[in-house]
Structure formats: structure tokens, C-alpha cells
């Protein structure tokens, strides 16, 4: 029964997931003086690359694959970081407690790939990310029903577009709307099916949702809120086996030679579960990105961490899906692996580019109790500031980088932008910033 196996030389740190977080962890470790060999292993057959453009510039052929590559091969070679592509780890065996004086596990072990290759490591990092959530519906298996998470997904999608005149996007979140705008910009008829009552409901407030709804309808995208789909309809004749449309519960059918599903992601926690790590909507980690075994670090989209915002309620946890978090969280983990306990730095921020709308979000809206809308239609600028008990905690800014930067900087310095003053769209937010304690005294 046994198959011949290959045993690799032991690595100082095995990073599973050649993702934004995995790449940043390797890069940051070299900046913090970690001098052991690093293996950066990913399951895709590509050099480590950046995902954000897949739904935008890459899909529209405005950049090519080479532009998405994180680092040149020379960089990896010079920094003693070994890349392993196309390898999927299916099992981790941690070594039993051994040499340490107190008998605690030292974090070493071996990772076993699906092809039998064994990767022994002294320390392990999980940067395994998340995968696209699959839609359960009749017809979901038809050809032409696609997802968009990886470069291969994007390449497959691009290869199909020549035969597509009508596309349906399922899900009115960031990925769905970015892709919808890309497809619409390429001349396709695009309909968006959003189950919920508004767009991007998970990430922005109602005012911003409404702004995007009007803008995208205005450009000719058919957006259906509260959409109830019954099934994906199969084509006939030459199109047998291929999707031809989406049937709604009221019986109407929307034509589609392509259905792109963007309904969120599921964290890849299988390896952590197999290792016996605590898992709860992601891999549970402490403030320093360390998982429940005390030695494995987990970073990025897959990690469920204490809310890093200053002043967040004790015990509140969050899993952030963003480039910014992948970077900042990986830095924390790099410090942990070199024996330093550092706090999460900076204010979480997000961006989404949808046709001519450039959305930048600073902070987290969790727990807001009021908002201020700043709108200048002549200049095409729109911002919403979110407040909790009079303190600004976040902002959605559309084509308004000055507002975004002002809020992000104020949050980073623990300052406030009083709501009354912020309501005047002509007043630059930067000029309204006050120290938090001054605000409390004057209130």
C-alpha cells in the first residue's frame, strides 16, 4: 500500500499559503532578523501574486499576469526563501513534546502533501486564506457557472467572455460589483442578483449602499435587490450542459451565458481542525497571531483575532478579509516568531474600485450609532462618517481621498472629527480634527 515518499530537508519555518499574508510574513521575517530557512508553499501553480486586480484590471486586460507577481525570483533566492508551487498539504503531524526543559511542544513537526512529499519544519505558519462560498441551487453544476477567487478562476473567466453577451452576477458585494462593472465596461449586458435588501450590506452603511445602487443602475447595470432565484436554466441544442439563464421564483428568466457567483468566502480551517487547533469562524488566535497550541501562527483572512481597534470591547473578536489586514497581521506574526510581542498597528482600511467609483473605507463601523453624509455631486464626491457616542470610528469615501485620508489619520492618532462640523461638505475634514480629550471636555 505504501507509496514512495520524498522527504524534504527540514525548514526553519514552513508557511502554508503563498498568499498576501504568507508573502508578507516571509518578507517581514527577513526584516526582523529571522535567519532560518523559510519555505513558502502554495497549492496554486503560479508564483505568489496579488489578488485584488483579478476582478478589475486583470479581468479587463488592463494589466497582465506579470504585473500581479509580488517579488522577482531573485528576491526569493537572495533572501533564502524557497517557493514551492502546486503543493497541497493534507495533514500536519506535530512532534511530541521533547527537548524543552518544561516539556512543552516546540512547534516542530511535518506537513504531508497529497503527493506524499513530507515537509519537516521547526515552526509552522498557516496563511491558508479562504475559498469562494459555493451556491446550492438547481443548475449550479452547469458549465458557465463560475467563481472568482484565484488567478486560474480569472483566466478561465476571461477565456469564456468571447461567447458571452449576457452575464448574471450573483451577489452584490465587493467582488460581485467589481466584476459586474468590469463586464459591463467590456460591453456585456449585466444583471446583479442580490438576495439582501441592499448592496454591500456586510461592509457599508445604508447611505453608501444607496449611492452605489443609483450609480450602477445609472450606468445600465440591472440590479435586483431581494432577488429570489429558483434555478439556473440549462441551454438546449448546442448549449446543452451550459447555463442559459437564471429563473427567478416569480417565473421570469434572465438570459445569461455566464453566471458569476460572488457570495462571500469560507475560511480554510481544515488543516487547523485536523491539528486540533481551536476553530470558530476561522482559526482562533491571540493578539500576537498565535493559535491555541501556543506555537503555530495563523494570519490573514483565515484568522479569527481579537478586535485590534483601540478601545474595542474586551473579548470582541473579528475575522477581517482584506489586503491591509493580511499585511498588518503578518507583521504581528513575524514579531511573534522572533520572540517579540507587538500590538497590531494602524487602522483597518479597505478599498473597492467599481468603474469610475473609487471607494475607500477607513476603520470599522461595528457599533456605530449615527452618521454624517458629505455629498458634492458637482465634484462627484461622496462620504459617510460613522460615529459611536460622538467619536468618529469609520468612513466610507467615494472619490474622496482627502476625506479618507483625514479620517484614517485622525483614527490613527486617536483624534476626533466632530459630527456637526463634518456635515458641511465644503469644509476640509483635515481642518476639523480635534484631540479626543478636548472634544470630551467641551461636550
Amino acid at each position: 500500500m505504501s507509496t514512495p515518499t520524498t522527504e524534504r530537508a527540514e525548514t526553519g519555518l514552513l508557511i502554508i499559503g503563498a498568499s498576501q499574508a504568507g508573502v508578507q510574513l516571509a518578507v517581514s521575517l527577513r526584516g526582523t532578523g529571522f535567519d532560518e530557512h523559510i519555505t513558502l508553499l502554495g497549492e496554486e501553480d503560479h508564483r505568489p501574486y496579488q489578488r485584488p486586480a483579478l476582478s478589475k484590471e486583470f479581468l479587463q486586460d488592463k494589466v497582465d499576469k506579470e504585473n500581479l507577481i509580488f517579488r522577482s525570483q531573485e528576491y526569493w533566492d537572495e533572501h533564502d526563501i524557497e517557493l514551492v508551487k502546486g503543493a497541497r498539504i493534507e495533514r500536519i503531524e506535530k512532534n511530541a513534546p521533547g527537548g524543552d526543559a518544561d516539556g512543552s511542544p516546540d512547534g516542530s513537526g511535518v506537513a504531508i502533501a497529497t503527493d506524499g512529499t513530507r515537509y519537516p519544519f521547526r515552526r509552522l505558519a498557516l496563511a491558508v486564506g479562504a475559498r469562494a462560498r459555493r451556491l446550492q441551487i438547481e443548475g449550479a453544476e452547469l458549465d458557465g457557472v463560475v467563481y472568482l477567487r484565484s488567478a486560474d478562476d480569472a483566466l478561465d473567466l476571461k477565456a469564456r467572455l468571447g461567447d458571452v453577451q449576457d452575464a448574471v452576477v450573483v451577489g452584490g458585494g465587493f467582488i460581485g460589483l467589481e466584476a459586474a462593472c468590469s463586464l459591463h465596461g467590456m460591453g456585456k449586458n449585466v444583471a446583479v442578483m442580490e438576495y439582501g435588501p441592499r448592496l454591500v450590506g456586510r461592509a457599508v452603511g445604508e447611505d453608501t449602499s444607496e449611492y452605489f445602487l443609483q450609480a450602477h443602475r445609472g450606468r445600465g447595470i440591472d440590479i435586483r435587490l431581494g432577488a429570489r432565484m429558483k434555478r439556473f436554466v440549462e441551454g438546449t441544442g448546442e448549449r446543452a450542459g451550459k447555463v442559459a439563464g437564471v429563473e427567478l421564483e416569480d417565473g421570469t428568466v434572465v438570459d445569461a451565458q455566464l453566471v458569476l457567483v460572488g457570495i462571500g468566502v469560507v475560511p480554510n480551517t481544515e488543516l487547523a481542525e485536523q491539528m486540533g487547533l481551536a476553530v470558530d469562524n476561522g482559526i482562533v488566535v491571540d493578539r500576537h497571531a498565535v493559535a491555541s497550541d501556543g506555537t503555530t501562527v495563523a494570519v490573514g483572512d483565515v484568522a479569527n483575532m481579537p478586535n485590534p481597534l483601540p478601545g474595542a470591547p474586551e473579548g470582541e473578536r473579528i475575522r477581517l478579509e482584506s489586503v491591509n489586514n493580511a499585511i498588518e497581521h503578518a507583521k504581528i506574526a513575524a514579531y511573534s516568531l522572533t520572540g517579540r510581542q507587538e500590538e497590531y498597528a494602524g487602522i483597518p482600511w479597505f478599498w473597492s474600485n467599481q468603474a469610475d467609483l473609487k471607494l475607500q473605507i477607513a476603520g470599522l463601523t461595528l457599533g456605530y450609532d449615527s452618521t454624517v453624509v458629505r455629498r458634492d455631486d458637482a465634484k462627484g464626491k461622496f462620504s459617510v462618517l460613522y460615529y459611536r457616542e460622538g467619536q468618529v470610528i469609520a468612513a466610507d469615501c467615494v472619490n474622496a481621498p482627502l476625506d479618507f485620508m483625514a479620517v484614517r489619520n485622525a483614527l490613527g492618532k486617536g483624534q476626533n472629527i466632530p459630527a456637526e462640523a463634518a456635515a458641511d461638505p465644503a469644509a476640509p475634514l483635515k481642518s476639523l480634527v480635534v484631540d479626543r480629550h478636548v472634544q470630551e471636555v467641551s461636550a
Binding site: W351, P401, L402
Partner: protein
């Protein structure tokens, strides 16, 4: 081949041979030049690829867009007259550009 000279805040310089069409930011990041973060990968969203262009070379570059101009007001180290976001500077044939990176980007 076009060459970009990156000088850090402490004064040490790295010279990189660049590809035409890449941005000055991409050239730096791919080769591991410290001092340029570029969180957003060049989509003009983060202002963490701020550089100071050598004064006599500023006018040789195409003018900046309004969006870049606004983003530059949010950089961590205050902007100067020769500030640019390096993701917006495309490498051109025969380019020989000198930029200095700020002490901090975030």
C-alpha cells in the same frame, strides 16, 4: 535599459534596471527595495508608495492626476513640491530617474 535610483532616508542608494511600462513602485517592490510599501498594489488607494523625485527631474514626468494630487495630502510624511506616488510613474524608454523614499510610509 531604464534605470531607477532609489535612495532611502538614510542616504544609501540602490540602482535597479527597470522594464518599460512597469511603474516605479512595481520596480521597487518586485526587487525588494525597502521604503516603498504599496499596500494597494498600485490602484491609487493607499498612498504608501510616496517618493520624492529629484528636483531637476520633476518636470520630465507627466503631470499627476487630480486623484494622485489629493492622495498625496494623506501621506505619512508630509508632501513636498517634488512628491509623487511611485505607482503613478510609468517607466519609459531611456528613463534615468532618481527618487528618495521617505522615512516612513505608514
Amino acid at each position: 535599459m531604464p534605470t531607477i535610483h532609489y535612495t532611502d532616508a538614510a542616504g544609501s542608494t540602490i540602482d535597479i534596471n527597470a522594464n518599460v511600462g512597469d511603474s516605479v513602485m512595481e520596480t521597487a517592490v518586485r526587487n525588494g527595495v525597502p521604503g516603498i510599501v504599496a499596500e494597494c498594489g498600485g490602484s491609487l488607494s493607499c498612498a504608501t508608495c510616496h517618493v520624492f523625485v529629484r528636483e531637476d527631474e520633476v518636470d520630465q514626468l507627466p503631470e499627476m492626476s487630480e486623484m494622485e494630487d489629493e492622495m498625496l495630502y494623506g501621506t505619512t510624511e508630509d508632501r513636498r513640491d517634488n512628491s509623487r506616488l511611485s505607482c503613478q510613474i510609468k517607466v519609459t524608454e531611456g528613463m534615468d530617474l532618481h527618487v528618495t523614499t521617505p522615512e516612513t510610509q505608514v
